[in-house]
Structures are given as C-alpha cells and as structure tokens.
Symmetry: C2
Subunit: 471 residues, 2 copies
Amino acid sequence: MNEKLPDIKTDFALWYQEIVHKAELADHAPVRGCMVIRPYGYAIWELIKERLDKRIKETGHQNASFPLLIPESFLKREAQHVEGFAPELAVVTHAGGKELEEPLVVRPTSETIIHYMYAQWLKSWRDLPILINQWANVVRWEMRTRPFLRTTEFLWQEGHTAHETEQEAQEEALLLLKEYIDLCQNYLAVPVIAGVKSEKEKFPGADKTYTFEGVMPDGKALQMGTSHLISQSFAKAFNMAFQDRTGNLAYPYLTSWGATTRLVGAVIMVHGDKKGLILPPRIAPIQLVIVPILKKGEEASVLAAAQRIKDSLTNVRVQVDADDQKTPGAKFYHWEMKGVPLRLEIGPRDLAANQAIVTDRLTGTKKTISLDKLATEIPALLEAFQTQLFERAQANQKSHWHKAAKLAEFGPIMAEHNGIYQTGWCQRKECEEVLREYKATTRCLLDEKTFEYCFNCDRLSICDVIVGKAY
Amino acid sequence: MNEKLPDIKTDFALWYQEIVHKAELADHAPVRGCMVIRPYGYAIWELIKERLDKRIKETGHQNASFPLLIPESFLKREAQHVEGFAPELAVVTHAGGKELEEPLVVRPTSETIIHYMYAQWLKSWRDLPILINQWANVVRWEMRTRPFLRTTEFLWQEGHTAHETEQEAQEEALLLLKEYIDLCQNYLAVPVIAGVKSEKEKFPGADKTYTFEGVMPDGKALQMGTSHLISQSFAKAFNMAFQDRTGNLAYPYLTSWGATTRLVGAVIMVHGDKKGLILPPRIAPIQLVIVPILKKGEEASVLAAAQRIKDSLTNVRVQVDADDQKTPGAKFYHWEMKGVPLRLEIGPRDLAANQAIVTDRLTGTKKTISLDKLATEIPALLEAFQTQLFERAQANQKSHWHKAAKLAEFGPIMAEHNGIYQTGWCQRKECEEVLREYKATTRCLLDEKTFEYCFNCDRLSICDVIVGKAY
C-alpha cells in the first residue's frame, strides 16, 4: 500500500488521478466519463453544500425540484442555447417499452424547463422576484473527462431567478458571485480571480456571464463556477409575460448561477502535495485524527483517553484510529494521504504527563499540548491552518499570474510553461481567436485597465483580460 | 381565490389533487407523469430528509453518489430484477450526437451499479460491512401517476449494505425498518403497520422485503417504504467474492432500503381536512404564522411587536405575514390551507394588554397568551399538536382496520368501502390471486396469528396477513 504517488511537480495530471483513487475520493464508473463519488469525497461535497445552501437560503432563495427529463423541443426554443448544448446531450428515446413520440433529453442545465414553469406561475409584478435554487444532477456528454473536473454526469446547484428590473437582476447575479467568492476563499481556501466572460466564452443564451477562476499549481486556470444574466429572449421564448405596475405586459429579467462538484477537484489540486491531499479544515470531513500509541498492557487506558479527548472536542470533527492491525507509521501515512489537517498522538508516557503531540499536515510542525488545553488549542490550530493554507494558495496564484503586453512575446512561454497572463484586449473576436495557437483562451475580463493596447493588434484595449490555458 | 376545496369525504382523490396545487406543494411538469416540487413542498421534504439523514449517519452509514445511467446489460444480470423493472425503464439510446453501442437505462433503483462497484472494493472480510446510502432521483415509467404518490421521476434515499453473515444483514434490514417506523410515527405523525411482503409482492431480486404501510382516510393502504434482504444471487451475478476469515472465497449478504417523496403524499392525505393541509410541527416548514392586525396609525408598533415575537422564538420556525394588501381573514384562509400548525394574531389592543391570541389549526381552539410566556408556551403547544395529530391518525387507522375470517364475506364490503382486513392465510399464491377480484392485494404478513384458517381455502393459516386496496 505504501507505493509513492507520482511526482507532483513533473507529473501533475497523473498525481491528480492517483490521489483521487488512493484517498478514496472517487472511482471511475462503468459508464463512459462518469464517476462514483466515494464516501470520503462525498463528505467533502456535503460540507461545501451545507455552507452554500445555508447562504443561498439566507440571501432569500428557496429550494425546489424540477424534472430530470426535458422535452427536446424546449431546448430548441432559444437558438443560442440549443446550439451550445446540442452536441453534449444524452437523449431518452424509449420508455415503458415504447418509442417516445418526442425524445426527452437528460437535463444538461435546467433553464428551459424552469422558465416554462415560471411562465405558468408568473402573472403580475407582485409575483416577482422568483428566487429558486435546486440541487441536482446534470449530464453533458463530454469528450475528455477527469474525476470531479469534468465528468459526464455531475452534481451541482443551479439557481434561477426572475426580476422586475434589469438592475435587480444585475444585483442578483453579482450577489451570488460574491457568495461564490466567499465560499472559495474562506471555505475552500482557494483564491479566485473574478470577472466577466467574453462573448465567445459566455453561457449559451446569456447576456453576461460572471466567472470566478482558480489558478492551479500547474499554472492552468480552472473555471470554478458562473453567474449569468440570462437574455430576455428566454423570457420571450417561454411566454413569460406579466402585468407590470402600469398594467402593461412586460418580460422579467432573469439570472442563473451554478457551482458543481468540480469545486472538490479544485481543492485537491490547489492544496495537495507529495504526500497526498491537504484539506482546508472548514470542509475537512475529519479535522483531527487521534492515533493512540498502543503499548502492551496499556491499550485500554490509552484508548479510553483517546475517546475522552474526542468527546471533549464537541465542535471539532474527530476520528480515533483504533485499528490494532496497523502500526502508527502506517496510520500516519494513511491520514496524511487523506489530508486530515491535524494528527494527535497519545501514548502511555504522554498520558502520564497529561499531554499529547499534535502534528500539522501542512508543515509537519509538532507541538506538545497539555490535555487540559486541547479544547482551546485545537480550534485555534484549525483556524490558523485554514489561514495558512489560503496564504500558501495565494502565493501560488501570484507566482503564476503574470502581466505582459504582447502575445507574440508571452504566447510561446505560456504555451510551454502555462501560467496566466493579464494583458490588454480590443475585445474583437479576431484577436481572441489567435490565442488558440497557444492552446489558450480568454478566462475573464477584469474591472481594471493597465494596458493601453490589445495583446494582438494595434487597437486600444478596452479593459484588462486574463488569458491562459484552462481545464 | 376563495373557492372551496372538493369535498374530502365524497371526493377524496379530487381533494388531494386540488390541495397539492392550492397549497403550492407541487405542479404537473410538461413531461408525462413528472412533477415539479415547489418550494413549500420541497421544504417539507427537506425536513424529512434532514431527520432521516441524521439517523442514517448516526447508525453508522455514509453517503455517496453513484451514476444516474446504468448499462442495460447490468440489469439483465439478475433474472428476477430485470423481469421486475424492464417494463418501467427509460432508455438513453443516443448521446453526444451518436447512437450508443450499448443503451443506458436511467436508474430505476441502483442495486446493479452499486453492487458492481462493491465488487471492486471488496477483497477481504476486513472490508465488511459496507454501509452506504445515497440521496438520488430515480425514474420508473409508471402508467397512472399522482403527485408525490406515484411519479415517473421521484426523489429518494437508497441504502445498500454488504455483510459477512446473514444474521448481520437481517439485523441491518430490521434496524432500518425500525428507523423508518420512528420517522413515520414520531415525525410524520403517521401510524404504520410493519411486516413482511408476500413472495408475489416483494422487491424483484429480494429474499425478503420488510414493508411499513399507512392507512389512508379513504381506507386504502399506502406502502410508505421498504427494507430488503437482497438475494445472494446479486452478489454472485456481480462477482462480489471476498476472502473470509478462514481464507475461503465467500459472498456477502446484502440489504437495500429506501424511502421516497411519497412520504409527503402520506402526510397530505392522512392529516388534511376540508380547509386544506395540516402539517405535523416536526416537519412543518412554518410552525407558527404571525398575523399582525393592522389598524391605521398603529401599524409600526404592531409590526415591530410581531418581529420581536419572531426573534424571541429562536427554536420555532416562524413567519410574519406582513402583507398590507390582504385582510386578516384572507391570511387566515391562506395559512389554514397551507396547514401551518399555529397562528398568532396580535393587534394594538393585544399589544397594550401584553398578550396575543394563538389558534390551533387542528381544533381551531383559541388561547390568549401573555407575550412573556410565548417562549415556553409555543413549543409546548407544538409538542401537544404533534401528539394530538398522531392520536387522531391512530384513531383513523383503527377505524379502517378490520379483522375477518373469510374473503367471501369481507371481500364484497372491502371492494365497495375499502378498509384493510387482517385475516389468516395459507401463503399459497392461488389464494392470493383471488384477492384480485376485489381489487385488493396482500399488504404484509404480520408477526402474529389470530386466525386458524386461510381467508380463501380450508388450509391452516401460517400467520396473519393484512389485505386491502392500495395506492
């Protein structure tokens, strides 16, 4: 079991694949591009979900559930939408032993069916805003898949809202963007760059897509989620008319926003090291593992002490590893692989001295702590761990985030060594297309302007843009 | 908006359909037999889920996620299983713009794909037990559908476990049965009859199916969930061999158990009355609604008092209905329809007297309570409400639960007036088949014996059985 992981520096993709497997986060399913999320991986997702769900509700939204299967004709009602999703659809053609009159697609996203329902519910401006979210599974037939990062089926939440005014919709889209950034930075400990997608990169059918992008240790960008201002053409395609305050017919302004199981992939990549995972305490299913050091004849008292420590740490997620078939060394290896932030060792001598040794997964620092002080010291160590992890991730982000004026200069370096580049852009598609030669895309437009000219042509830049290779 | 509901006594089915719509629990979806669970209905499901999930974890299980789409060949590996589910399958034949080499079925239940994965994970007896649950959506192409009670897609949890010994599997199946009964009786306030399904009625591929059945106000039975001992033929079909304690190859003993959004349907039917829903406080999204009685010039102080009351009831789910477009009467009607257990009215005169009037949705009893005592009285009233509701449901169950010796006598009465009948049975299929003539089935075998002979033939009865019409 103690084979080493592939080298994280030279073989990052293989390291990722191996750690997902070895830490028992997920397995390949016997269906192309699908994964099985194993209990340890799912517990991370549940903690992410719990936090995000709480904030979605606190900001005034309610959960609901819409059907998995969508009539094919619904997707065709919005031209850009069907063009964007058609190549990725999984289609149910037979059911109940018969061929269906109209095929049903397995939802790739739920705008169409949700807008159809909103049209039934929405009569007057008094019915607005509609603020609904759903936690669901969606299917997109992807070509190249990787556990968590891109899978044929994935889990996500998708919020769909309808508003009386464009400004309100705009505020809603930005509100959720802010929540997502808070989730990433303060819970996943992953710093993100937030901005707006280019016309080419935005969601099929959106007027505007806000994105938040993480920078991975290999210098590639990862789109971690999006928040859209949906085009009013959706509202029209689904006859979502309502009577406005002046008694006239009007169409609502719509948003949608989503975050997926991909977030787990970001956590794995951003924080992991050569020993395996490192989990941010706030989303770690186990925050502290207790390894009792068992000496013959003194097992019972040490195990009892381990249990007492666990019971006393009521606000910490603690596991006691009491397995008598494994050496402490094998246990250390196992829990390091699984990224548990803190390890506490206690043996007969420690117990006699009323103390324990606590080791930090991030730095390996050992600290001897009096048993009486664990209830205050452990939560403090976890908080410090969370902060340190975020700072380390920020340093990584910074090390890969370059500024450069001309693609002709930075393009070849980016193509070979990755990294993301902040530069100027005229916002014409022709210049965006050139990035392809370097396997890069625009990731997001920033709300700042430090370059005068476009990275490609001699036109003036409108605002800064982040370009880079992406997952 | 104040049209009356259909008569609950004479037109129960129509009453059900209307209340689901009017209380905004669910809507028909534009896909045959599917429903949209609206926020109020979904909030009930979330509270049921929260309680059940907590108990599933406390009894040692972990959540995970398995794929939605299952290769068609997997279902065919277990003969009884495919026979049971084949007529109900929805099949994906095309994906990513191409016809698939092997069709994929949308999971009707996940035994096959989960057992396939367990076979990869299970090497030695040390890996047992495997105790996994998933919260998921499943699709079964049903002929006659009704919101919550029987829908093409429904939400559920499905637990799947593997054990070293048959006895352990048996204990597991019974442990979950016990948890389900606790959930139904102590949270949904729905009394159930628990027992074993007949060979004909059991889950396709199970050795034994435990069931818990509710008795609806119209005298029909509702299967509320099941817990199965899965046949070892599954373990063999999926090559789930492991090395046992003696070093030999062995196959695990399996269970599966599930409960669905149908539970919401049971709550609607069992507790509702002519005014609408009545929700058990433990799963009511709103336990207390505050209706401020607004008099001109005194709105602000009354609204402030309502908010203060809400804020002081920290462990109660409270909503203040501050809508200034509606009369108190319209609000009373609305919240009665939605089944909120308690209503609190407060107007300027009450406020001056430091009191409020609390009305009980079940009996309509009004009580004047001092504002200083609300924090103790409201939780006590909610507890009493929960108990009363359960007792009323028990009385309903009792009124429909008859004992009778011979089908020839009770059959015609059952066919006309419903009701469930406890009787004797020889346990032969021939006699079970005769129930069809009365549109009835065996619902469950009981662990008692009060009849000497079979309800149909002259053979001896093996144990009592419940027969009746079912949803």
